[in-house]
């Protein structure tokens, strides 16, 4: 019970949790998912085999996994960084849309920027657009005590519908049958890392951002203040930390990263804004961040796992008659097990019994007395 409590607190209160807990949650999801597949009358081996072949079994599969992982990495980072100050950014989906739209507009209509500056400015504008939405959520939270969860969800609807209106109305490509804006110029396109794939430089940018954030949290005064606010808000205030300022800064960063996710979709994949450009990437970032225990560097790994599952699902769909919904089941199970740290802790305790002597040294000394 003691160690269960420890893990539980760690999960809730601190950003960098136990790595093994995450791994176990993932493995457990695979195992339980396999049992469910068998119960439904399919072969779990065939299912996982197809998923593996489609995701990690070939170069093509790996490229597909990485490209699927890219938006998840960005929305995962967006959620993770905000959660480090205990802000739950449910508005990422809307931030993705506004980021995608803003970037696509700069990409399509700004025609005087030479070479790489065009794509850079387009990306930047997409980020700023997402960040401004974040700032707005933060402002309402600080000024009026509005719940960021509710404001975020409401704004999602508003932003998705506004961008949909823009792409079906005033900004729609003349003569187009579908809701989309004018294509962006060549100069605004995000370059591809692998030809004929959807893998773009956005991934490199996202990984750089992830490691920068990890460094920032660990090594800078800003990151320190973020950690203190996340760990004990009252102590942060008592210590003179300017909490509103850090809130605004963090939610701006969070929104900007989600906006970058949107820009990556419109500048790297569709080359324009289309209605329904994000298929729920904003929310998909939540389990990615949770599996990583809200560590930015961890999000790199967890987003790859989720990306691989998505890539595998495509192969599953093409090559077998097994319903791809099982992939969603496995993903959902990951969330369940990450959210049930006590369960993981007790399994871990029993599995690790032979190694307890070693592990104990690493755990902090826990006195019993209050």
């Amino acid at each position: 019970m003691k160690s269960g409590k420890l893990i539980n607190n760690r999960f809730l209160k601190s950003g960098s949790g136990s790595f093994t807990t995450s791994v176990m949650a993932f493995l457990l999801a695979i195992i339980v998912g396999g049992i469910l597949i068998e119960i439904a009358g399919f072969s779990s081996l065939a299912t996982y085999g197809a998923i593996f072949r489609g995701s990690l079994g070939s170069t093509k599969g790996i490229v597909l996994s990485l490209s699927q992982a890219t938006p998840l990495l960005l929305t995962g980072l967006s959620f993770a960084i905000a959660f480090r100050v205990r802000i739950i950014n449910t508005g990422a989906e809307g931030q993705v849309y506004i980021g995608a739209m803003a970037a696509a507009l700069v990409g399509a209509y700004v025609n005087f920027l030479p070479g790489i500056t065009h794509v850079a400015v387009s990306v930047l504008v997409g980020m700023i657009a997402g960040g401004m939405v974040g700032l707005f959520i933060g402002f309402l939270k600080i000024k009026f005590g509005a719940s960021e969860v509710i404001v975020g969800i409401m704004l999602n609807e508003i932003l998705i519908l506004i961008t949909a209106w823009l792409s079906t109305g005033p900004l729609m490509t003349p003569g187009s049958a579908t809701a989309q804006t004018n294509p962006i110029l060549e100069t605004a396109r995000l370059g591809r890392l692998v030809p004929r794939s959807q893998l773009t430089w956005a991934l490199v940018l996202a990984v750089i951002i992830a490691f920068y954030l990890e460094w920032m949290i660990r090594k800078t005064t800003l990151g320190y203040e973020i950690q203190v606010i996340g760990s004990n808000l009252k102590a942060a205030k008592t210590a003179g930390i300017n909490v509103p300022k850090i809130y605004l800064l963090t939610i701006f960063i969070s929104g900007a990263i989600a906006g970058l996710g949107g820009a990556a979709l419109s500048l790297g994949i569709h080359y324009r804004f289309i209605e329904g450009i994000s298929t729920g990437f904003g929310f998909a970032g939540i389990p990615v961040a949770a599996l990583a225990m809200y560590s930015p560097a961890g999000v790199v790994v967890s987003s790859f796992l989720f990306g691989a599952l998505r890539a595998g699902a495509m192969t599953l769909n093409r090559t077998t008659s097994i319903p791809i919904e099982f992939v969603s089941v496995v993903q959902a199970l990951v969330v369940v097990f990450v959210a049930a740290p006590m369960l993981i802790a007790s399994i871990k305790k029993n599995l690790m019994k032979p190694f307890n002597g070693i592990r104990n040294k690493r755990e902090s000394i826990k006195g019993g007395d209050a």
Binding site: K219, T220, T221, S231, T238, G240, R359, I365, G367, A370
Partner: protein, 512 residues
Amino acid sequence: MDMLQMKNISKSFPGTKALDSVDFYLKEQEILSLLGENGAGKTTLMKVLYGMLHPDTGEIYYKGEQIHQKSPLDAINKGICMVHQHFMLVPAFTVMDNIIVGNEPKSGLFVDEKKAREEVKALISRFNFNINPDTRVEKLSVGEQQRVEILKALYRKADVIILDEPTAVLTPHEVDSLFVILRKLKEEGKSIVIITHKLRETMAIADRINVLRDGRMIETDIDPKNATIHSLSEMMVGRQVALGIKRPAKNIGGVAFKVEHLKVVEDGVVKIKGIDFSIRRGEILGIAGIEGNGQTQLLESLTGLNTPVSMKITLDGKEIKGSADKFLRSGIGHIPEDRLTMGLATEMTIRDNLILGYHKSPSLQKNGILSSKKINDYSNKCREDFNIKTPSIDVKAKSLSGGNQQKIVIARTFSHNPDVIIAAHPTRGVDVGAMEYIHSKLLDLRDEGKAVLLISADLDEVRSLSDRILVLYEGKIVSESMPGDLSEVQLGLLMTGNKIDEEVKDEIREID
């Protein structure tokens, strides 16, 4: 006959042996004081008895039979109840609801409110608890809440009641009424264990005293009549200690810190009614008062955490205004009221906690990037200078005992060389050893010429450390005196809003 026996109980936590072959017994109808420093294993031992922890070795016998507690529920069903240091009450529920929750008398599917009310009322009157069962718990004082906890135990037909640090949160007056209740419980046939590190109270209430030290039972059979405060404290700490140190101020200088027209209104209620005071260099100004008379607001104002209706603060003639950060950097050090909620981020490491609030100081960072080396050197120095007992500065603050946690707060404030120190309850919930240490550090700092404001609920502490004492009552300063001018009882009267005129004074002297 022994009501309860625990034999050869051992319990290890990763890295520490919390209990080492401890034997313990409890007689029928007695009040036993389980004495020991923080971290000695008192709470652990009682948690084993209460089924919250499972011992590695050892046996427990209760009313002659061996028992195995799987959970607190097991223990409660057998009649062993524990009142925790932090009360487990639902603030929005009424007293009655809190008492019956989990044990509601049923009629069909519903709670039999009538029966519940009768039973609760009967209990309240039987023990003269003087509580209205329909009041919501959030409206009760701390002492009353504690009585609700005790009622909860009685309602569950407890024969053994364990109280974890019951007096830590009480005013002197509330302590007295708690003792009356405990004696009454004993008369009614209950056996009571009090976990404490307060010696004076132990002497006053216990029939028998046990001393635990470093997880070992040092003595199980001390008769308080034959014990002295000194002998007990030596048993607890394992060495000689100086209690209630007193060192008169040597060089009180000019006024350093001046507070004028301080008035605070919170939610439309005037919490501080316009007060003025000043502290001189080399002086400790003590503020006595019962909690809730404006101490919190006073602290917040003096550290920049709230915005008073009016206030002028000057430090060496220079006015201080603005945010908490500004106050801190102007040289006002702050030891917050409650280290766990305000002073520490317990999920973070000791090192991280040692820089909290000072993390932007040029000695620890450059251009917003923290210097690991400088912070390590600084933290290790703090650990040595302030005698923080920990295997490493990289463990989480929550793994330390209360006394060592408080040393983190003290070390942080003191090593940044503040001109003024606002110290709130600096030794609350810390053990004798740490208390002695913190007191002597405060006196050292005073002798270096700092101005110290000491706010404490512990009247002994205020009386022994202060060079001047103010009494705060309902947001006003009602008395200013020199230590020794007024007795404990006189201060107590002032703290509760009474006046002391000469006649009463004489009477009191006789009682004293």
